[in-house]
Amino acid sequence: MADQKDKPQGSIEEALMRELRFGGIDKDNLKELVGIVAGFHKAGLKKFKVFPKGIPVVDGVRISGLVEASDANRILGEILSKTPRLAAVVAFPYGIPWPEIFRLNIDIGAAAENGPISQF
């Protein structure tokens, strides 16, 4: 049998579907993911991605999107208070010419079992 890392991975959506189909994301993580995604959407984020983290060996899920600096504080506050099993939160400037825009990466997954890590 070929090693998992030798398998063709396909698109982000296919990788996410594979994890969802075969139980790579447990029910608690699933609920928290839904909450984060809903929060992102309510905050007005139009474009963000949900995808397995650690391809080809998946160890969690990452939600990644662009937020305006004025919204970042509120979004982070919501996420941190409602998602106790966070693995990591990373926010970094999108850069010139949009210094007021941040890319926000939120990780949920196996790493959370070892305690939350927040990076800013």
């Binding site: 982000i12 579907m17 969802l20 609920k31 839904v34 809903a38 959407h41 949900v50 995808f51």
Partner: protein
Amino acid sequence: MLNSDLTTVPGGASGPARKAILQIHPSLRCNLSCGHCYSGSGPTARTELDAATVCQVISDAAAMGYEVVSVSGGEPLMYSGLEEILTHARSLGLRATVTTNGFFTGQERMNRLRELVDVLAISLDGPPEIHNEIRGSARAFERLEAGLENVRQAGIPFGFIHTLTRRNWEHLLWVAEFAAGNGSSLLQIHPLELTGRAGNQMIEDAPEDDVLAKVYLLAFALESKYGDTMKVQLDLLYRDHLREEPGLIYAAESIDDPDEISPAQSLGLIVLEPDGMVVPVSFGFSRRYKLCDLKEQRLADAWPDYLTNGYLLFRSLCRRVWDELCAPDAPLLSNWHEVIVSRSHVTGVISMTNSRAG
């Protein structure tokens, strides 16, 4: 065959439609007997409204502020009065959508509908074998696919409506790729409702909570991938959003002064059923909450009395459903239409509270 007053985009941020809708089911006649059909339509059904009656309701609705007619069924393309009612709607400046199973999309027919239909919504249940199985027809997918070229040639904007089940959710990527690849501008994902025929034939197919959660995530992934050309809409409400915004489902405590807003602003979706009943928000609503029975009264004539009686009952029901959906042990995601139709049939004490603002 969907109730779509909630402009739900992935994320569950839903709300009454920007444009108020008159949903019309002129007939239950259909060439298919789909397992998931909530209206129980089929080849032997004969319940049907005449076009003149439908046109009268369209006129009343337009005067009441409704801006969109959404024709469903049964199979609307089998309804002999379809072009007449669409022409009438167009003459009043209304937008029109038609929901079809895709069997009768011949080139000549599509060309005739070109100036009458703003969006053609085509039902798609999954890859060919699943679509055909649910539709009970070995040719259903073939006919649908063959007709797409005619729809494109006619220049009618179109979208797909996908009924989500426990069995077909794993094919969602295929569905999205098929839809986007064929030029669709919309993919609407609607969880199976256990009403009508589905309540008998597809009980085992209802998507459970964890499937809904998975599809919720997938819908965002699909929106991210296809959003520039195809809107992905998921008909689910997120519990916390409901808690914060009860007005999304008509559950706000105060009711706007009807003297200051139009009927369409009070009720964003009304449904004309083939037996002549006009009900709020969803096909199959209990008749206790009806706006009117066309055999007895015109819609426009019924509205003032409805506003002081039936509408308050409806709002009271919405409030109770909101309480239920926001309870700590309520599902994270819910299909409001299914729940409220179901609860409308529950008999019990009905409170009528009038807490109009202003």
